[in-house]
Symmetry: C2
Amino acid sequence: MQTDIHNNGLKRKKKGRSTIPIRERILVAAGDLFHKQGIRGVGVEAIAEAAQTNKMTLYRYFASKDELITEWVRGIVAHKEEDWKDLNARHRGDPQGQLQDWSRRMAAKLRAMEERGSALGNAFAELPDPNHPARHVMKEHKLREHKRVVRLCKSAGFPDPAFSADLFSMLLEGAHSCGTCVGMRQIGEHLVQVVDLMVENNRQPAAR
Amino acid sequence: MQTDIHNNGLKRKKKGRSTIPIRERILVAAGDLFHKQGIRGVGVEAIAEAAQTNKMTLYRYFASKDELITEWVRGIVAHKEEDWKDLNARHRGDPQGQLQDWSRRMAAKLRAMEERGSALGNAFAELPDPNHPARHVMKEHKLREHKRVVRLCKSAGFPDPAFSADLFSMLLEGAHSCGTCVGMRQIGEHLVQVVDLMVENNRQPAAR
DNA sequence: CTAAAATGTTACCGACCGGTAACATAGGGG
DNA sequence: CCCCTATGTTACCGGTCGGTAACATTTTAG
């Protein structure tokens, strides 16, 4: 641990402002607005204001709006992968437990969402440019995640891991879009149910 | 049939222009661009140009860009519901057949998609305003579709139709997002497989 | 042919947006 | 104390976009 004499490890900022460092405040504010109003629907000025700072300072931390977007996406991805590590830590050598816990956490997130779907999914839709750096970040994350699920299915003893993993992925991804019409709660419950069934029987759905 | 002396039922337009009526050309061009570049990423000028006309004429057919968007969404929705009717016509009294054919058609669409996911899904992400008319159109469509699937599951004899219908919906919706990392072909095949298994066994996945 | 309707052309407006320059202010460390 | 750095403020630029007006041109109908 560091001493607190000069600063507490994070730069402490001005007057009544928050104690959270500016860069982080900007990222949080940007995330909020991006998710609520869409990436293209919010301007940097509004982001700066929501972060209790101004456009100039924002541009001292981020070279461009695109970089801010990318950095935000990176944060989400990092958080999700952190979640995976935690899942692995809590259920070491228990791939079934990881999958089940995963579905439960997802259901909890769904319940707390209501309208306006997945941040990553929306970002993907809002950044059509295939060369946008944020797209690469998302794509690589999705790939890693899917590989992880395949590995889990394999070590869980599913007879066709590629097949089961695709099912899990489709269910998880689909839950977001469906929740908007069916209701997040019900979708979350059914998601947990089907994952439990698949895992408990340790085989693909409806295998005879 | 009408005579062709004055016009052939559709207003015939200028010189080298297409024989397709302007309004339709605009809608098609708008759809192309919306899907490829995102709704907010394309301007009305570009749409008019792609439709081989101009902005002024576009605004004589559509009061605003938002109305054009809404009309485009309406078209997609209408087309999908047409598809459902066709499904019902081809497999009368055979809900299982309808579900299976549905998954096959979806797989075919996925194969022909490659990158850039579902038009409706993207539109939903790009129109965060909950009062946007296009959102209502989409939401009502999703609701009707889901009810339809529930009805099919019920008449197909699934023991828990609400549960099975949610699964179908999640799988279908999720297929779009997943295809971008796993590959549309594989996702499509696995989608068909799981639907077949669920239907053939006439029970929920992994039910013992 | 002629008149009316549809379409094309050009120019423009106001609003917003991403990004930058220049300068003012404040705070902290020596 | 003073200097240096981080932050705030203001004004501005160039570009794009949605939307409209006014007028020219073409197409269609009678």
